[in-house]
């Protein structure tokens, strides 16, 4: 449904779209599915080989009540089947699709709680969990000059995967049985990579007196990889007839806070009498990324196309338009991106009371979506820029299957 679900989700997807929706239903829900997305993104007509994103979606909604007070707990997990999270830092001037390159290669784990304020008004919120890496690697021993592989070094490591949590909050209001209005806020996060390493030791050849005694080489690399802007989404769901549901979302995304995705490297070296033969560069500065805020409209429709006492079929469709937050690349950086038009279709089969074991409905949903990135050209100011002018375009194809169980 084009991702327009802020006012229309009450299954485990509410953990992402709007946590307030968790308390809307009264059934225990367990959802499990699989999703695959293949980007085909090109620069100057050549596929740049952005990795596919694929993995399992697992979610649960457990509602409860104490007298008239209703509440619900929900948890949702997107588990990539290749890795949990990939943090990558690249040279600042390396061309890349900055919003796709590594952004989908991460675990998503959210836990939420929702409560009913009064019938028809619900609020929910929770935390999403991520991690970033910070650490120090120390080595000591002897560095062999003639044959580096004969070096005798042992290591000490002190690396933390530091927890990064960001909150999400949502409100859902049903003023009438045919209209729902929702608002969701998702906070921003930055995943950085901060690593230091240092080698202390003698330099020479095994079995001979060292050429340099007690030298060192140290490096510290600080870089940014994943960034998500804070987002505010307002949405509505309109039940036109018993069989037709229309949904709309409007998202504001604060991309102007996007930090520079460059690594900052600090080097240190002491090799005694040979220090004069080494010129290490100092830290350098980079131009601002210049990203800008965007507004993303989304719309979806669901039609109950066929209904019998034990079976029903829903058909869904949607569209969203996401303007690019990336400015034209005229300087040193070469961040490729373009506006995104996403078209989605889906279908759901709902089976009711198919066996005494499953007294409540079981739904099987499939969806397919295509995101189209029209050609966008960047013209460099410097004619000697080693990337030069480039044109970016592409498509992202996505398919998914989900089984939703109610108890």
């Amino acid at each position: 449904m084009g991702g327009a679900a802020t006012a229309a989700s009450e299954d485990s997807s509410a953990n992402y779209y709007n946590p307030a929706g968790l308390v809307h239903g009264r059934d225990l829900r367990i959802d499990i599915g699989y999703r695959y997305a293949q980007p085909i993104l090109r620069m100057n007509g050549r596929d740049v080989g952005v990795d596919a994103s694929r993995g399992f979606q697992i979610g649960i909604v457990a509602p409860g009540s104490i007298g008239p007070f209703r509440f619900a707990f929900g948890a949702s997990l997107w588990l990539p089947d290749q890795r949990l999270t990939r943090v990558r830092s690249l040279p600042f001037d390396q061309p890349r699709f900055v919003l796709f390159d590594n952004r989908t290669q991460r675990l998503y784990m959210a836990a939420n709680i929702a409560i009913q304020i009064v019938p028809g008004l619900y609020v929910g919120g929770g935390l999403t969990f991520m991690s970033r890496t910070a650490g120090q690697l120390f080595l000591k021993g002897d560095v062999a000059v003639s044959d580096p592989d004969a070096s005798s070094l042992v290591s000490r490591i002190d690396v933390d995967l530091v927890a990064v949590r960001y909150p999400q909050l949502g409100v859902l209001w049903e003023p009438t049985p045919w209209l729902s209005i929702g608002v969701t806020y998702r906070h921003s996060f930055v995943l950085s990579l901060d690593q230091q390493f240092r080698i202390d030791g003698n330099i020479g050849n095994p079995g001979l007196p060292p050429v340099v005694e007690s030298g060192y080489f140290a490096a510290r690399s600080q870089s940014l990889d994943l960034f998500q802007p804070w987002q505010l989404t307002a949405g509505g769901a309109l039940k036109l007839k018993r069989t037709i549901l229309l949904t709309f979302d409007l998202t504001f995304a604060r991309w102007s806070e996007f930090p520079i995705p460059a690594s900052n490297l600090t080097l240190g070296l002491d090799i005694g009498a040979y220090n004069d033969r080494v010129m290490l560069p100092g830290a350098r500065s980079y131009a601002e990324s210049g990203f800008h805020d965007i507004v993303i409209p989304r719309a979806g429709v669901e039609w109950r196309a066929w209904e019998r006492p034990k079976m029903a079929v829903d058909v869904r469709g949607g569209y969203s338009y996401e303007p690019t937050p990336v400015p034209e690349q005229i300087g040193e950086s070469s961040f490729a991106d373009s506006d995104k038009h996403s078209f989605s279709v889906g279908a759901g089969l709902e089976l009711s009371r198919i066996t005494s074991i499953l007294p409540k409905p079981l739904a099987i949903d499939v969806h397919a979506a295509v995101t189209y990135l029209p050609e966008r050209a960047s013209h460099k100011v410097d004619p000697l820029d080693h990337t030069g002018d480039f044109v970016a375009d592409g498509v992202v194809v996505q398919i998914g299957l989900m089984m939703r169980s109610r108890f």
Binding site: I66, F71, D149, S151, I203, V278, S356
Partner: protein, 370 residues
């Protein structure tokens, strides 16, 4: 290290034969199928350490973490009614997801205590009642492993780093069974696979033209967190209506633990054998309960002896005597049921010439039926 939940940790870390709900995700997933109510539990665990190594105080990071548990009986109908349940158990240390901290291989360390609680634990399990007297369960414990590369390169006359680090999942199975042999006797057995969080980072450079020497490729690899393969059996006796006594033993395959830190280069001299040995941990725990109207109070105590698996010259540890205490309160009213539990564990290291000290852990949980 302190167990999951607050009941078992107060009873000498027993529970293989009688733990229920999310506590059972680790202790014995077969116990998940016993409760028929949906419950959400939130808790907190803290531990402080006073340890010494070679006559010096050895600082160990304080343990502070959040416990989250969910008991979810799956309300199937028909022949599966009240026969299948899911359990979720999470332990989140405040601040870190995982910590890889290893000193140089020749530096003595507390091999099994230094950073053992600084890792997220995620447990997902299911229990199935296959017979009115027999339950079985299966669960998965997930840990994260860190692999990556860092390249320091001279690209177009500029020195920069190209880094890629990935968190991958390491999954460990937990299998359990439980039998209600007699009205006053339950028996349980559980197998837990080896649980390991590794790191493997390769550092390369292409600074040849910048430096008057070539630095070797460095591989920083080792095991950040390790729990050995284990098998435990236990009996839970109810000699009086208000008293439960658990007795069990756990075998731990510590000898499979390799070197916590590998050499960074091939030219480094081989490290001595780590000297880990298998151990058997005897446990005993007891719980007394008394009910007044809607309120039931529980008092718990227990003891276990944890012989150390680390007996090497550098990777050090000591046998531990552990005394545990706990209390619980169940308030079952017309609207819901509230369960509050707390525990304290006192770990005393049986002093050796090189290692000694004590540490204590305490925790509390509050659970609410949904």
């Amino acid at each position: 290290m302190f167990g999951m939940g607050a009941r078992g940790p107060g009873m000498g870390a027993t529970g293989v034969a009688d733990a229920e709900g999310y506590d059972a995700t680790y202790t014995n997933p077969a116990g998940l199928v016993a409760p028929t109510r949906r419950r959400l539990t939130l808790g907190y665990v803290h531990a402080g350490y006073r340890l010494n190594l070679d006559g010096m105080h050895r600082p160990v990071d304080v343990t502070d973490g959040l416990v989250l548990g969910a008991d979810i009986p799956v309300p199937f109908g028909g022949v599966l009614r009240d026969r299948i349940a899911l359990g979720l158990g999470f332990y989140f240390p405040f601040g870190v997801v995982n910590r890889a901290r290893s000193p140089f291989p020749d530096q003595p360390r507390l091999a099994l205590l230094d950073t053992r609680t600084q890792v997220v634990s995620v447990l997902v399990a299911a229990g199935v009642r296959i017979h009115r007297r027999v339950d079985v369960g299966v669960g998965v414990l997930a840990l994260a492993a860190l692999v990556g590369t860092i390249t320091i390169a001279d690209i177009g006359g500029r020195i920069t780093t190209v880094a890629e680090e990935q968190l991958t999942t390491s999954l460990t199975p937990i299998l359990g069974a439980r039998v209600r042999a007699l009205g006053w006797l339950r028996l349980g057995a559980v197998f837990r696979g080896e649980s390991k969080s590794i790191y493997n980072i390769e550092v390369t450079n292409t600074l040849g033209a910048r430096l008057p020497l070539t630095l070797p490729t460095l591989r920083l690899a080792g095991t950040a967190q390790y729990d050995p393969m284990q098998a435990a059996v236990e009996g839970s006796f109810v000699p009086l209506s208000w008293l439960t006594v658990d007795v069990g033993v756990t075998w731990k395959h510590w000898s499979a633990f390799g070197l916590p830190t590998e050499n960074a280069t091939l030219g480094a001299p081989p490290q001595p054998a780590p000297g880990f040995v298998d151990t058997a941990v005897p446990r005993i725990g007891a719980e007394a309960s008394k009910r007044w109207a809607q309120v039931t109070l529980q008092g718990r105590t227990g003891y276990f002896f944890e012989p150390t698996g680390a007996r090497g010259p550098v990777l050090l540890d000591a046998d531990r005597h552990v005394l545990t205490f706990g209390a619980g309160m169940t308030w079952a009213n017309r609207l819901t049921t509230l369960q509050v539990d707390a525990f304290v564990q006192w770990h005393h290291l049986q002093s050796t010439p090189r290692v000694g000290g004590d540490f204590a852990a305490l925790g509390a949980t509050i659970g609410l039926d949904l």
